[in-house]
């Protein structure tokens, strides 16, 4: 098992976001975290990413420590004052040419423009380039499809299935349904 969460609990002062949470995730699988707004989805993802410590319980990794992973939060993690290509070079950890990644995400020709002038959907696509610019086996994504148009969502789902087929794994939250065949997906409901 790549990742197992045992008896996880997280609180903000007295408000318990989640309690006694158990789940597992194996390589090649996607864990879809669902729940209404404020049910602690983002907090759970931050706990998995190590940005935040759980109040109780623990996250166990197959290789005792957290593998390399890509994090995508609500915020895009891109600088409005760097050109799209400069942003890509900043987030890059593998050696893929940024220009081809830009084209792959449907942003061809915008390389030297500033994200400040991009639409929300284009900014999200630029942020999603982070997934292609890293060989990390694990993706932790917080509502990656936010602000994406239909074509963008299809593009993103293609990325997902490609990553899963290569044995990668994903933990993500989403309000849209995921257009993948069911066998890869595990679901985890919060705030029931």
């Amino acid at each position: 098992m790549l990742l197992t969460g045992t008896q996880l609990e997280s609180k903000r002062n007295h408000r318990t976001l989640f309690k006694a949470l158990n789940f597992e995730l194996d390589a090649g699988q996607l864990l879809l975290v669902e729940g209404h707004n404020g049910s602690g989805k983002t907090t759970l993802l931050k706990t998995l990413a190590g940005l935040r410590e759980p109040d109780a319980g623990q996250v166990l990794w197959e290789a005792e420590y957290r593998p390399q992973f890509v994090w995508l939060g609500h915020a895009n993690g891109i600088k409005d004052d760097l050109t799209a290509l400069e942003n890509l070079r900043a987030m890059q950890t593998n050696s893929l040419p940024p220009k081809t990644v830009l084209e792959q995400m449907g942003l061809a020709g915008h390389g030297n423009r500033f994200p400040r002038h991009f639409s929300a959907g284009m900014k999200r696509r630029l942020a999603l380039c982070r997934l292609l610019l890293s060989d990390a086996p694990l993706w932790i994504l917080d509502e990656p499809q936010a602000a994406l148009d239909k074509a963008g969502i299809r593009l993103f789902e293609a990325l997902l299935s490609g990553h899963l087929q290569q044995g990668g794994s994903v933990v993500m939250t989403s309000h849209h349904d995921i257009g993948l065949e069911g066998q890869h997906i595990r679901r985890l409901g919060l705030g029931t």
């Binding site: 990413a49 935040r52 410590e53 915020a75 993690g77 891109i78 600088k79 760097l82 400069e86």
Partner: protein, 225 residues
């Protein structure tokens, strides 16, 4: 190798972002000169008086400019999500923090160093005192940047934190102010200033080694909000 590459590229990136906001680089400078301008209006134009209080004024103005600049050191990165990515980077956060603060210092404090002599002349300081003032500012402003960054990292996740940042950081600025302005005073009186300069240098080394650890811990705390 990956570390120096990341260090340099982060430094370069922050530099380009700052340069794309050229007008914002002027803010600390305008603030610095305006504050120094206030004192003659307040205490009167008599040259002897201005000459004696000039070191203090220059240093208090530099202190306040550093405090003002410290506030938006991490704020934009926090809002656009790049701070999260920086904290999650596999490279040691304290070192990346040093790169960020070095870029911040180059952009906000170095122009100040160029402007200070002009204002010092306006206050009637002679060449030697101005030279020493430059030296103390050169040694002191990085300390102000690092200590300001600790306060900024602790309060970046808070909505309105202007006064709190000043309350946290100004007491820690006081030793730099004491030795900085006094060194210029003593130089103006023609006495040796090596003692003060060594102490400023010691504070610089201390903040260069310890502050990044506190800043990294504070950023991890702020990002987890």
């Amino acid at each position: 190798m990956r570390l120096t590459h990341a260090f340099v590229s982060l430094l370069y990136r922050d530099f380009t972002v700052a340069f794309r906001h050229r007008n914002e680089i002027l803010n600390p400078l305008l603030f610095f000169s305006l504050v120094t301008l206030l004192f003659p209006l307040g205490v009167g134009p008599s040259p002897q008086l201005l000459q004696t209080i000039a070191p203090g004024i220059l240093w208090v103005a530099a202190l306040l400019a550093a405090l003002l600049a410290a506030d938006n050191l991490f704020r934009t990165d926090y809002e656009d999500g790049t701070l999260e990515q920086l904290v999650l980077s596999p490279l040691p956060l304290p070192l990346l923090v040093i790169a960020k603060i070095l870029a911040h210092w180059l952009v906000s404090a170095v122009p100040l160093l160029l402007l200070a002599p002009l204002l010092a002349v306006a206050f009637g300081l002679e060449a030697l005192a101005i030279g020493v003032a430059e030296l103390t500012l050169l040694l002191g402003t990085p300390v102000l940047a690092f200590v300001g960054a600790i306060g900024s990292a602790l309060t970046v996740s808070l909505k309105r934190n202007g006064m709190l940042l000043a309350l946290l950081v100004l007491p820690l600025y006081m030793p730099v102010l004491i030795f900085g302005s006094n060194a210029v005073d003593t130089a103006a009186a023609g006495l040796p200033v090596s003692g003060q300069l060594y102490l400023l240098a010691a504070m610089l080394v201390l903040s260069l080694t310890l502050a990044p650890l506190a800043i990294a811990a504070a950023l991890k705390m702020s990002v987890s909000q």
